[in-house]
């Protein structure tokens, strides 16, 4: 498997996959940071981040998944390489190696944005200490939906020659996932869409915000953690991996 992953790395030479992923991550960070300029948001900064980031992640991380998976799999379709690979290695190994390499890129970007979020908090002078336990939980609850979304995108990118299918389904899913966050009264909506779990697993609530005073008398609170959603998501991850791998194994090349 190490050899296969090494091959994945060799294949992406001159494809600038890491650079593309970093650019998307940088765009995400550039969108977040200018928002934290007011004194109130600096006061509430650490918790405000945890409240706002799931929505931003629900848009950027699936988009990043589409881009990374598509760039990694497209080279196989363009070069008619799947046939060549399938006569040298087991298809399950091909599926796994590409998935692992893609996830390495995704998790790297996630760690980078997570680290940058905390670094920015210190630079901006957010009040108090960073609630590290909550930030670790936030990382876990961002990484898990990202893995689920990536497995789905990976399977689509690998099975469909036309990457338009991947882009279209991924974009629609991202839109619906982000939209589901605006309907907190319908929690099931977030659970039926894999893209909705960024919201389903968010655990910080905003109280006291008004149109007139905005964040002046507002405060954030840690809500209950939705363990059920997390367990469901883990099952979704496993199911999508097994199904995706099986579809690829059965695909006629």
């Amino acid at each position: 498997m190490i050899k296969l992953i090494k091959c994945e790395f060799m294949k992406t030479r001159r494809r600038y996959v890491f650079l593309t992923a970093l650019t998307v991550t940088a765009a995400m960070l550039a969108w977040i940071y200018p928002r934290h300029q007011s004194a109130d948001l600096i006061r509430l900064g650490w918790m405000a981040n945890l409240y706002e980031l799931p929505l931003i992640n629900s848009i950027f991380m699936p988009l990043l998944s589409i881009i990374v998976s598509s760039r990694l799999c497209d080279i196989e379709h363009k070069g008619v390489m799947l046939k060549q690979l399938a006569v040298t290695k087991k298809r399950s190994q091909i599926y796994d190696a590409k998935l692992i390499y893609g996830l390495i890129i995704m998790i790297f970007c996630l760690i980078l944005s997570w680290g940058m979020t905390i670094t920015f908090g210190y630079i901006a002078g957010f009040e108090g200490e960073v609630p590290i336990r909550l930030y670790l939980l936030y990382f876990l609850f961002t990484a898990t939906p990202t893995i689920a979304v990536y497995i789905l995108q990976h399977t689509l990118s690998l099975c469909f020659k036309n990457q338009g299918v991947t882009f279209f389904s991924g974009t629609i899913g991202t839109f619906l996932g982000a939209l589901s966050l605006f309907f907190p009264q319908l929690p099931w909506l977030r659970r039926i869409l894999v893209w909705g779990y960024y919201g389903a697993l968010s655990f910080v609530g905003l109280f006291g915000w008004t149109k007139e005073n905005r964040y002046k008398q507002a405060h954030f609170e840690v809500m209950g953690i939705d363990r059920n959603s997390f367990i469901i998501l883990l099952f979704i991850c496993i199911a999508m991996y097994i199904i995706g791998r099986e579809i690829f194994k059965r695909k006629e090349l």
Partner: protein, 243 residues
Amino acid sequence: MNEIVKTAGLTKLYKGVAAVSDLNMSVRKGRIYGFLGPNGAGKTTTLKMLLSLIRPTNGEIEIMGRRMEAKSRIEILRNIGSLIESPSFYGHLTGAENLRILQTLLDVPKMNIDKVLKIVRLDNQRSKKASAYSLGMKQRLGLAGALLAFPKLLILDEPTNGLDPAGIQEMRELIKSLPTQFGMTVIVSSHLLSEIDQMAEDIGIIAKGKMMYQGKLEDLHNIDRNKSLEEIFLDLTGREQSL
């Protein structure tokens, strides 16, 4: 064991329509087997089944005395080099980098890259991106990939497709040299009778998914001495396609 490839009742149905029907193929060791048939006759489908790229609806495949099954597949394929339909390559990588990936996957010595590049006469173009190769060079790169592990069996699907006359001749000479030089058995498919006539020792003629003739090429010439090889071929394939 004289037969390196043997199929029994090999069948592939697509939505109930037979692309390959009850095919019994027999390829002798150390020979060049020409697999001839009009376009759409089922040549590529058969070769893909031999390589497990598609699953047969029915029938059995035996390669090198071993039955092709999910368990034994990769082990058998380790001894087979192939070039199916169009050559496979990563356009953004150089010829040598493409082979380096295959060499890593096949777990063969690194020096094989230089050897095969020399065999297909691409050693001077090794640092050029594959996307900048001409079609002939791409075909040769594909062949280099197929030869990389110096397999016992080489399966080439229309390897001269799209090549100019000089390229066709070069490829033909290269293929002809493989059994004597490296002891390989070659299965080469084509829809051009002249192509197979100049290359193969044994021949299998397929039409509408069925094997119409199988045997030595010289025996095909002897079927009817009053008829040309083209006429014999057209008789066998039902005169449905031009050559």
